[in-house]
């Protein structure tokens, strides 16, 4: 069997286990360091990738550990682009993207912050939802010229 990988990509396939989020965190943090993001930017990347993976495990796969979450880190001179894919049915993207968990009515709700956190900390966030293929979160953090 032959396999190939793009020279600027790192792929991670993991079972849907919350306990494994620390592995995702360590990979995200290491890649952010490799790309010389500063401390705040690195925290943004790691926090956001964790949220996307948490969503995939909890909502996409309903904690079914037999389902795989696929995470791809694509590194270019301009940006880090992270895709997090699950096989779940997806969600109402517009409703979630427009929700504001910081409003007084929502501030003390225990849930509903994951995508808001991603949107707040990354430069671009989008979702591709396909009834056949599942749900993919696409997170982009641009590299600043130093």
């Amino acid at each position: 069997m032959t396999t190939s990988v793009k020279p600027n990509e790192i792929q991670l396939r993991m079972p849907s286990q919350i306990e494994l989020l620390d592995v995702v965190d360590k990979v995200a943090a290491a890649i952010a360091e490799q790309l010389e993001f500063d401390e705040e930017e690195a925290h943004s990347v790691a926090n956001s990738v964790l949220e996307a993976a948490t969503n995939a495990i909890q909502h996409g796969h309903l904690l079914d550990s037999s389902q795989a979450v696929d995470i791809t880190f694509e590194m270019t001179p301009e940006a880090l682009r992270v895709t997090v894919h699950d096989f779940g049915p997806g969600f109402d993207v517009d409703a979630v993207l427009n929700a504001d968990p910081t409003s007084p009515d929502s501030l003390l709700r225990p849930r509903g912050r994951g995508i808001f956190i991603m949107k707040s900390l990354m430069d671009e966030v989008s979702f591709e939802i396909d009834p056949e293929a599942g749900c993919t979160a696409i997170l982009t953090k641009f590299r600043r010229t130093r």
């Binding site: 965190d25 926090n47 949220e51 968990p101 912050r113 956190i117 707040s120």
Partner: protein, 113 residues
């Protein structure tokens, strides 16, 4: 996630160690808070010095603990919040909900003021 509790006079110091990310660990945190309130304690410091990160599920645990304490006329304060967790508090405006202190000692002293 390891959860321990000790009393400092009339203040319960609940110390969390590990990642706060939901699952069974989250329930153990909530249970310790509930037990503390059931015992009659109304001043609680949650020491996050051993927590390197939380996800939104972990945030939910902290919020639920805060609400549970408030509903029991108790005060729950946080100590030693990592910069990375502070970043999430800021973007979600939860820094307006939680009273945070740089150290457990500082949090304990705030109850005396």
């Amino acid at each position: 996630m390891k959860v321990t509790k000790r009393m400092e006079n009339d203040v319960a110091v609940v110390t969390l160690s590990g990642k706060l990310m939901g699952g069974p660990d989250a329930e153990s945190v909530r249970q310790v808070i509930r037990d503390t309130l059931d015992e009659g304690t109304r001043k609680i410091v949650v020491d996050l010095g051993g927590v390197p990160w939380v996800n939104s599920t972990g945030l939910g645990v902290l919020i639920a603990s805060h609400v549970t304490a408030s509903n029991a006329d108790a005060a729950l304060k946080l100590a030693q919040v990592d910069k990375r967790i502070s970043q999430i508090f800021m973007v979600t405006k939860l820094h307006t909900v939680f009273e945070t202190h740089g150290s457990v000692q500082e949090a304990l002293q705030s109850f005396q003021g």
